[in-house]
């Protein structure tokens, strides 16, 4: 027994010495759940970047709110997020620099095919008013993510207070896919980004229980950007790697690959780096 323990400790020590040495360069990235849920990172970005530069990307899919906090805590080198307002606030604080707009998609309001509140085809403000009036179930992420921030701004833009403590307004405190599933269980509505919705449709064999009911309103535009962590506040942040990654993302070849990334024949993200 004693020998076994000694042996395992020795093995662990050896492993811990060998592993980092063979790992090469690693870029730490915090990102939103949508880029990860859709498979964009795992299937396209991470392997292609490794191939082009030899750098491994380790990403944490956490939602914009936490991604920005992780940058502030110096836990990552770069962020890929979608909340321009919050991004600006962190740039003003000096946490993040070199913001580059990379791609966009749009938000949609989805709900049951039976559409109990009858919002199909309305613009966003009308749809939200009708949902609130009829007290139809609306699942909000309530987790401070980019999508959640967007949704809150839409209630305000529709001239309403953000619902709170209302039985029909559920704040799930969970990610996008769990929230869509909760909306479905409750026969209600929710707002999601189109990329995650297409992924959800794909996992449901192309015929998901919740359908897109409100779309195309220009307030639903959803811009994704990458930002590097400022070495002035985080002296261990790998600024050069982050910078290299951001310009790689904005390069014509990667932009084209992002545009070609499809599920069910639909584009998940539309590249728009300048």
């Amino acid at each position: 027994m004693k020998r076994l323990i000694t042996l395992s400790i020795a093995l662990l020590v050896v492993l811990s010495m060998v592993l980092p040495a063979s790992a090469g360069k690693t870029l730490m990235m915090a990102t939103t759940t949508s880029t990860a849920n859709t498979g964009l990172l795992d299937e396209l970005i991470v392997p292609q970047y490794m191939k082009d530069t030899g750098v491994e990307i380790k990403f944490l899919a956490v939602g914009t709110g936490k991604a920005l906090k992780m940058a502030e805590n110096c836990d990552v080198d770069v962020v890929l997020v979608h909340a321009p307002g919050a991004e600006k606030a962190y740039m003003d604080k000096g946490v993040l620099i070199d913001r580059v707009e990379l791609m966009y998609n749009d938000f949609v309001i989805i709900g049951p095919e039976s559409d109990p509140a009858g919002v199909k085809g309305m613009n966003v403000a009308e749809a939200l008013k009708v949902i609130a009036e009829k007290q139809a179930v609306f699942a909000s992420r309530g987790d401070n993510s980019g999508t959640n921030k967007k949704e809150l701004s839409l209630w305000k833009a529709a001239g309403m207070a953000v619902p709170e403590k209302a039985a029909w307004y559920i704040q799930t405190g969970q990610g996008m896919l769990p929230t869509i599933n909760i909306a479905n269980e409750k026969n209600g509505y929710t707002m999601t980004d189109r990329g995650t919705y297409i992924k959800y449709a794909d996992t449901n064999g192309g015929n998901p229980p919740l359908k897109v009911l409100v779309e195309g309103d220009k307030v639903l535009f959803n811009q994704y950007s990458a930002l590097a962590v400022n070495t002035k506040l985080c002296k261990d942040a790998q600024y050069d790697l982050a910078k290299q990654y951001i310009s790689w993302m904005a390069s014509p070849a990667t932009q084209k690959a992002i545009g070609d990334f499809k599920l069910l024949g639909k584009k998940l993200f539309i590249p728009n780096a300048k």
Partner: protein, 231 residues
């Protein structure tokens, strides 16, 4: 390191100012854990007694199963209960998904094996002369069970506290079955998970301290009860 201290003080502030969100989470935690503890004890003590007191074929197998269930991961219980309660599941019509009662069902599955196993062990450890004595005193089977359970009451109380510790601190069942709905099914543990996922570490620590305070209160009450029982 600042955020640890900050979290500590913020936790005290939340508790003493009666912050409605915090108290909503405390209430959800207390409601779900009280329901599940009651169910675990009411179902678990008799079953544990039967398992510990009687000799029957297959007893060892059942003991092994119960002991295995002790290490049932909470997310797996959550997944199972979710699968039964979802709209398309066998119990979908009950409307228990995303409710405190649904969480309590899952937590009961978590607490039951602990109560059963520890009660059985306690009954087995009783003085072997006790049943004989009780029989000579003319006790019927129900009275024998009561006498044995009373004799083992401290061990059963320990079992209850162990079960409470697991139930009140679990996050998998509360998150999956409860859904973490603000003002409704958000418990202290799922609130901590959410705050941390938002990057609000201070708030997470504050809630953690709150949970410890709740556990401390329960333990002080339990110790008080035990003292009373001894006198």
């Amino acid at each position: 390191m600042d955020y640890l201290l900050q979290g500590f003080f913020q936790g005290l502030v939340l508790l003493f100012t009666g912050d409605p969100e915090t108290y909503s989470a405390i209430w959800a935690t207390v409601a779900a854990s009280s329901l599940s503890m009651t169910a675990s004890l009411v179902i678990g003590i008799p079953l544990g007694f039967l398992l510990g007191y009687n000799k029957f074929p297959g007893k060892k197998i059942i003991r092994t199963i119960v002991d295995t269930l002790l290490s049932f991961p909470t997310v797996v219980i959550g997944l199972l209960v979710y699968a039964f309660l979802t709209r398309h599941g066998p119990l979908g019509g009950t409307g228990l998904l995303f409710s405190i009662s649904g969480v309590a069902i899952g937590q009961t599955l978590l607490g039951l094996p602990i109560i059963i196993a520890m009660t059985a062990a306690a009954v087995e450890a009783l003085d072997k002369r006790l049943p004989m004595t009780l029989i000579t005193l003319g006790a019927n089977p129900r009275q024998m069970m009561w006498a044995s359970v009373l004799e083992a009451r401290y061990s059963i109380m320990l079992a209850a506290m162990a079960a409470y510790g697991r139930i009140v601190s679990e996050v998998g069942i509360s998150m999956l079955v409860g859904g973490n709905f603000k003002w409704h099914t958000r418990t202290i543990t799922t609130a901590i998970a959410l705050e941390t996922s938002k990057g609000e570490f201070t708030m997470g620590i504050a809630l953690g301290i709150t949970l410890l305070a709740v556990a401390l209160t329960v333990n002080i009450l339990a110790t008080g009860l035990k003292k009373k029982a001894v006198q």
